[in-house]
């Protein structure tokens, strides 16, 4: 979980930067219609393209066949953003390669044969793309990609064709949410070919005030243009979040201070707490710390909690399956231990 634990940058507003490249093997049907033997060969070919290469990177990777791990372990990988739910849905044929630093994952037999992902803490889209592109080249030394000179990289769904690139940032926007400015931002973003959605929870209800913004268009723009667009928009939003926080501070309202300290109080002393409530409260305390209102809480601990309070990861930490009721009790204990 290296990516979530490192020191915050950009005042903690940009949580992570993520790059995902979709690639397919020439002449092989896409995973959704692929028979088991051919799917197995895809896994073998992709894994050996990395493991047998002479690159220094190759020694970093572990191969996990999804069918060999428990449902909890699979879900925890989703909670850590290392794999997608779609990969789990194809557990009989899918695999993932994850590096030691846990910031690169290569999903095999997801919607496409290869979904290569690099996730970095903070605002580092260009660096993440550089690494992804390097690993992409390494795979391509041995595997002939499905590529068309006009349409670019061919993908199972036409929404990914061209660069096959999905670049995204995860943003923590509590002040914009509290001041209700987030709705304007959502409307504006949709107009410039980007999408925004809440990271946790369904639809526009963004639990923990964490949002993900990503490019929607993958064809006709170069990778650099796509990334630069996202960087420009992200900078604007970060600026707006900072402004919203300043405005909140200027008011010097007891109400705000009270709300943030109450959040901390509940986290420190609750005996049972849901995922949803804990994410909301952690978000508030995190903002309080970043704004200098709350002084004696470590942001890195809060970042860690963002991931660890989620159901599958929580059960893995506890090393046993828990009923929903027990989960809430264990979650409260875990948070207390972390914050007291």
């Amino acid at each position: 979980m290296a990516w979530f634990f490192s020191k915050s940058s950009d005042e903690g507003i940009v949580l992570t930067s993520r790059i995902r490249l979709a690639r397919n093997i020439d002449g092989v049907p896409f995973p959704h219609i692929l028979d088991k033997d051919s799917a197995k060969k895809v896994v073998e070919d992709v894994t050996s393209a990395i493991l047998d290469s002479n690159s220094a990177i190759s020694k970093d990777f572990d191969v996990i066949n999804l069918k060999d791990i428990t449902l909890n372990e699979r879900m925890s990988l989703v909670e850590k953003h290392l794999i997608s739910k779609d990969l789990i849905n194809r557990s009989d044929i899918s695999a993932v390669m994850i590096n030691k630093q846990k910031n690169v994952s290569i999903m095999i037999n997801e919607e496409d044969h290869i979904r290569l992902q690099v996730i970095y803490p903070g605002f580092k889209l260009k660096e993440a793309y550089e690494l992804a592109s390097k690993i992409d080249d390494l795979i391509e030394e041995r595997i002939t990609y499905s590529y068309d000179t006009r349409l670019g990289y061919l993908t199972s769904c036409p929404t990914n064709v061209g660069t096959g690139l999905r670049a995204s940032v995860m943003l923590h926007l509590p002040a914009l949410t509290i001041t209700k400015n987030i709705n304007n931002i959502i409307n504006t973003i949709n107009q410039v070919g980007l999408t925004i959605r809440g990271l946790y929870g369904e639809g526009s209800n963004a639990l923990g005030n964490v949002y993900q913004i990503s490019n929607q268009i993958t064809l006709g723009l170069s990778e650099e243009e796509i990334i630069n667009n996202l960087i420009a928009v992200t900078n604007k939003i970060v600026e707006k979040e900072k402004k919203a926080r300043e405005m909140l501070l200027e008011k010097q309202s007891v109400e705000l201070e009270d709300e943030l300290y109450r959040a901390l109080g509940i986290l420190k002393y609750a005996r049972s707490i849901s995922t949803q409530e804990s994410l909301e409260l952690i978000s508030k305390v995190r903002m309080g710390v970043e704004m200098g209102i709350i002084k004696d809480v470590n942001v890195d601990k809060l970042n860690e909690l963002f991931v660890n309070v989620q159901p599958a990861t929580l059960q893995l930490l506890e090393k046993r399956d828990l009923s929903p009721k027990d989960r809430d009790i264990v979650r409260a204990r875990l948070i207390r231990e972390k914050l007291n």
Binding site: D26, F30, R150, S156, G162, R197, L219
Partner: protein, 175 residues
């Protein structure tokens, strides 16, 4: 043009629907378009509205003329998927499907991306080879024309260039 529903605002959402062979045109303003549920389902694409690719596709296929049987004869030679399968699943079967269904896929791609020309990364190994092949093909056609026109000097030049590129292609593939 004014919105057909509220008759007040400028219509900037234009929809052509073909249902049972009857073409209907609908011109709405942004607000009325958002409120109208049947448009949310069938309207081909609008980045302002969150919708699944399947919705986009459904709307678009409907715009193309609707009836499933129109697509039955088109089968991808590699994966055997039909355009109708793509229509139902929203996923293509293999890379070859793109050229097999090119006529119907191209307008969909253009709708989604606003573009149909890749300008990004080219795979280092195969991309170079593809480009060489394409260049050789083009030169061969030029050579044919030159010979037909009895432009032998030009033909000789083209021949040399083709030989050079073919030797380069050989080295690229490690032959």
């Amino acid at each position: 043009m004014l919105c057909q529903r509220c008759n007040q605002k400028e219509a900037n959402v234009h929809i052509t629907k073909i249902i049972n062979g009857v073409k209907t045109e609908l011109h709405l303003c942004d607000e009325c378009a958002k409120q109208s549920e049947d448009i949310n389902v069938n309207f081909p694409i609008n980045f302002g509205m969150p919708m699944s690719f399947q919705n986009i596709l459904d709307g678009f296929v409907e715009m193309l003329g609707g009836a499933p049987k129109t697509y039955e004869e088109e089968v991808c030679p590699v994966c055997k998927m039909t355009f109708n399968d793509f229509r139902n699943k929203g996923r293509l079967g293999c890379g070859r499907c793109y050229s097999a269904f090119s006529q119907k896929i191209t307008p969909i791609i253009k709708r989604v991306h606003g573009n149909i020309e890749h300008t990004g990364k080219v795979p280092a190994r195969t991309g170079g080879e593809l480009k060489l092949r394409r260049d050789i093909q083009r030169l061969k056609e030029e050579l044919k024309i030159a010979i037909n026109k009895e432009e032998y000097e030009k033909a000789a030049k083209l021949r040399d260039e083709i030989r050079y590129l073919e030797s380069k292609l050989g080295t690229e593939r490690g032959e």
